[in-house]
Each structure stands twice: as C-alpha cells, then as structure tokens.
C-alpha cells in the first residue's frame, strides 16, 4: 500500500447547517442548507453541474427517519442527479470516512470535482429509541446484552483511564466547560452557551418560580450538582455527553491542479489514515483506542509531519473523556499525560494545542453521520482565517480532524494544510 495519493486533492468550499433540534426539518432540508452554504463559500464560484459525484455520510436514516437509500435523495434535492451518489456508513465516523472516499476518488483520477456531505436527523425519535439506535454501532451480540449503552462504554473507558493515570471526574468536567466556552463563539452550535451562562439562566429561573436559588459558586459546583448535571453513566454526567442532534455539512474537493480555479486560498489534503477494530472488549486496554493511533500514524507519515507540527485539532469528543484519550492517541501528549494537559489549559483556545475550537461535538452538537464533515468545515475556516470570534490567533498551517465510529471500531484522521 502506497502512503501517498496518486494526485493531490484540495478543499475549496465548505458549509454546514446549524446543528440542533429542528422539528419539521428532515435530512434533505438540512442537507440543502449545508449544500447552498458550501456553494456560496467557493471564492470564485462553482457551477454545480461541474460536480462529478456525491458522497454522503449517514449513520442510520433508516432507523431515525424510516428512510433508506438516502444518497440519491440528497443528490436529487441538491439538483445533482444523475451523478453517482454514494452513502457511506461507519457509525459516527460515517462522514469522516465519506471525506476519505471522496479524496480517494479524486486522487484516483476518476473524478476531478466531488461534493462530500454528511447528514443525520436524530430528534424525531424519543431518547430511549435514539439510545437503542446508537447501540447498533456496538456489538449487539456480545456487548449490548451485557447492559452497555454508548455513554456506558466511554464511562468504562473513563474508569480504566482514571485508575491507570490518576485523572478524576473533574478532569472531564473541565473538558466540557472548555468546549462550551469555545462553542459560545460558534453561531452554528446547538448548545452554544458557556456553563456560567447556563448557571445564571438556572438561577434566574429559580427566582422567577420562587424556588430556592442554587448556591453554586464555580462552574465545577454546577457540574457536581446531581440535579443540574445528573449522572448518565458514572463517572459521566449530562454535560460530559454530546447531545442528540440534527444537522448536515458539505465540503467540495477538487484535484490539486484545479484548485486555483476556485479560490486563491485552497486547503490541501496533507495526510490521512483509517483503521478498523473489534468490540471494546477486544482491545488490549480500555484507555486507548488502537484504531486512532494507527490512523494518526498513517496521516502523519503521509503528511511528513509530527504531532507537534499540528496547529489545532477537531477531535471526536462524543464524551469528554474521549477528547482526553484522543489527545494521547494522536500523539499530542504522552500516554497518561493528556488529562494533565487538559487540566492545565494546554488544549484551550489559547493553549499550546487547541482542541475543538468549534466547541466540539459536546457543544456544537453531534448529528452522528454529519459530524466528520462538520469537523472539516471548522478546519477549512480556521486555516483560512474565517472562523470569526473563535478564530485562533496567529498563522495556522496544519489542522487535524479525528472522527471515531462506535468506541473505536472505526477511526479516520485527516490532516489539512494551508500552503499560501
């Protein structure tokens, strides 16, 4: 297997719908919003008729909406028929893998211009049905009958991590506080409010209703409050978990030689990697995700860089502990030191290795089959200095995305580069 693309691929457009709970909007409605924003983001314009193929990440429209065969519907509603339309499903990594398939298709020479999107409409189902639908991303024969849920898997990884390295539940709370701070600057975020803002809203609500006013002094007081922040799967609480979301995101990939036709500031695919694995109990340990390590190593090798060269990353924080583990699996911090880096602010927006400047899945929202493309949208904006109030200061060259399916049965990593 070669570690290089047969030809270079560039990212020249990116758009996304707002992430949230949108009663009355289906997948296609959200996808159209993201697609139109993507078209508008192409500096020198794109005629949609030039697009050769469409790749759509989607986890489970079948169970969430009762709609299968979703890719040609997205093509039809965006006016792209009759080009080939392909659905890609790798659970919560569906969209990241769709990006990879789009890159491979352009690199192969078969296509010059492809649109890659992701979409999920989760909020039509009641929470327990969503939980059951997400559970199908695990091993339904050997894991789910034991009583595992998705928060449960990551909570078990958390207890293993805490016992091995000394982190506490507060470590994970601090990750959530940080991601909500970042998300408060993202107009597309589902829960774009700082924890302090949520606390004040709760206080005001209590006063209005004549109820006892909560006596939280700090954000951690709020996070420890069983009523404000109930346990979902110990040690993980509500604010450790990404929400149930609707949303879509779309990017435009073109061959490197065509990039300047669309923009003077293209973003290039520098490296990528992907790996698969068995159930959580099939791994050597519970506190590291082997597929993430492998995918990361492949991406760094292709890009010819080290983790230290990465300026910022969007990582798969489906649960707060996942961000800490990812920061180690991707080589940003030594094994067992990621939690210390998180506590010391290294992953904050002004830290040495900012993670999830967008607010991450935690605050931005996690429409599972769209999240991987949503991460790429953020990297595109940050690298081009278009991230508005949440723009990371200074010159940015490399941005990394890390998208996990299940508990690590799939992981896909991309490294994007600004060269101008």
């Amino acid at each position: 297997m070669s570690s290089k693309l047969a030809r270079g691929v560039a990212l020249v457009g990116a758009g996304m719908s707002k992430f949230g709970a949108f009663k009355g909007k289906s997948s296609r409605d959200l996808f159209v919003e993201a697609f139109v924003e993507m078209l508008e983001s192409v500096d020198k314009g794109i005629d949609p008729k030039e697009i050769n193929a469409l790749y759509v990440g989607n986890y489970s429209s079948d169970l969430f909406e009762g709609q299968g065969h979703i890719a040609p519907i997205m093509a039809s509603w965006t006016g792209l028929s009759p080009i080939p339309a392909v659905r890609v499903e790798d659970a919560c990594a569906s969209a990241g893998v769709a990006v990879r398939e789009g890159i491979l298709a352009v690199a192969s020479g078969m296509y010059d211009i492809v649109a890659v999107g992701g979409v999920e409409k989760m909020t039509d189902l009641p929470t327990e049905k969503v939980t059951d639908t997400l559970a199908t991303a695990a091993d339904v024969q050997y894991e789910i009958p034991a009583g595992f849920t998705f928060p449960g898997f990551y909570a078990a990884m958390a207890t293993s991590y805490m016992a091995a390295y000394g982190a506490t539940p507060e470590t994970f709370m601090k990750v959530g506080i940080k991601n909500h701070n970042n998300g408060s600057m993202n107009e597309k975020a589902q829960f774009g409010a700082k924890i302090t803002t949520l606390m004040e809203a709760r206080r005001q609500s209590a006063i209005k209703k004549g109820l006892p006013v909560p006596e939280w002094e700090t954000e951690l007081d709020f996070m420890h409050d069983d009523r404000a922040n109930p346990i979902v799967a110990w040690p993980l609480r509500l604010y450790d978990c990404s929400p149930i979301s609707d949303g879509a995101a779309v990017v435009l990939l073109v061959s490197e030689d065509l990039a300047k036709r669309f923009t003077d500031h293209p973003i290039f695919v520098a490296g990528m990697g992907q790996a698969s694995d068995g159930a959580l109990h099939d791994r050597p340990v519970l506190n590291s995700i082997p597929s993430a390590r492998i995918a990361g190593e492949q991406a760094y090798a292709m890009a010819g860089i080290t983790p230290q060269d990465v300026d910022f990353a969007e990582v798969h924080d489906c649960f707060t502990v996942a961000e800490v583990i990812a920061s180690e699996d991707l080589g940003f911090f030594e094994k067992g030191k990621g939690w210390v880096a998180a506590e010391e602010g290294e992953t904050g927006r002004d830290g040495s290795k900012p993670i999830n400047l967008s607010g991450g899945l935690k605050s931005k929202g996690h429409p599972v089959g769209a999240s991987g493309v949503g991460q790429v949208v953020e990297v595109f904006k940050q690298l081009r200095g278009q991230a508005g109030p949440r723009q990371r200061a200074g010159k940015l060259k490399y941005g990394l995305t890390h998208n996990v399916g299940g508990t690590g049965q799939t992981c896909v990593v991309h490294i994007f580069e600004r060269r101008d």
Partner: protein, 137 residues
C-alpha cells in the same frame, strides 16, 4: 467450512451456565467470545473450550439511563446497574453486568478486583435466557 462457533451456540452454553469460547488447536490461543478464525494466524482449526469464568475487572460504569432491555428488566435512574469489561484469566476480555457491587458508591469499586462468572436468568419456560454477568470473588 461450516461454522459452528456461532453466537447462538455461545448462548446455548450460557443457558447451561457455562462460559464457552474457542481454542486454536495449533497454538492453543483462546478466544471468548468464540471466534471461528484466529485473528493472529487466520487458522480455522478451532475447538470449543470451557473458560473458568474467573478474571479481573478492567473497567466499569454505573448506568443510570439504561438500554431498553435493561429498563425492561427493572433498572432505572433510582435503580442503576453496573456493567463492565472483565479480563478473563485465560487472556481474553468480555463484557458483562457486574453484580454484588455498591452502585451508589462507585468510588468503592476498584479496577483490578477479582471476579467470577455469574449468570442472570430472565424470562420463564421457553423464553428463559441466561445472560453473562460477573460478581466479586
């Protein structure tokens, strides 16, 4: 090759309160859950083998918002349950409910404690099924 190392067969053994996996006849490596193909050397020369059911707790959680099946079994926010991953003495890890621990004081549950297989029987008559669980030794 006709694959006999199925989940259905594994469950039939569980219903007899036996934890069964597979053993590679060439190098003796053991797998639980049972695998028809050895992932290390791709051998299909496997046989059923019984696991002792003893091991150590590798990771756990106390679930307050359970799966539909566990809610049906009577668990909820006021009655949460423990589930975890156990490293069996023979080497492989497997998932199971963890019984006999204080779910309201999770700090008291230590990673690495020795556990042994227990079997939870749910349903009656023909629908009776046993699930794999573990409890502290």
């Amino acid at each position: 090759m006709e694959n006999q190392f199925t989940h259905t067969a594994f469950n039939s053994y569980l219903n007899e309160h036996r934890l069964m996996g597979t053993r590679n006849l060439k190098d003796g490596s053991m797998y639980c859950p049972p695998r028809p193909i050895d992932p290390e050397n791709h051998s299909t020369d496997m046989e059923w083998t019984e696991f002792k059911g003893t091991g150590k707790l590798e990771g756990f959680t106390i679930v307050y918002i359970g799966s539909t099946a566990m809610i049906a079994a009577g668990y909820d926010r006021k009655n949460p349950y423990c589930v975890g991953v156990v490293r069996l003495d023979e080497g492989p890890m497997i998932s199971g409910q963890i019984l006999g621990v204080d779910v309201f004081h999770p700090e008291s549950i230590e990673i690495g404690i020795p556990v042994k297989a227990a079997y939870v029987d749910r349903g009656e008559g023909e629908t009776k099924k046993s699930s794999l669980a573990f409890e502290p030794v």
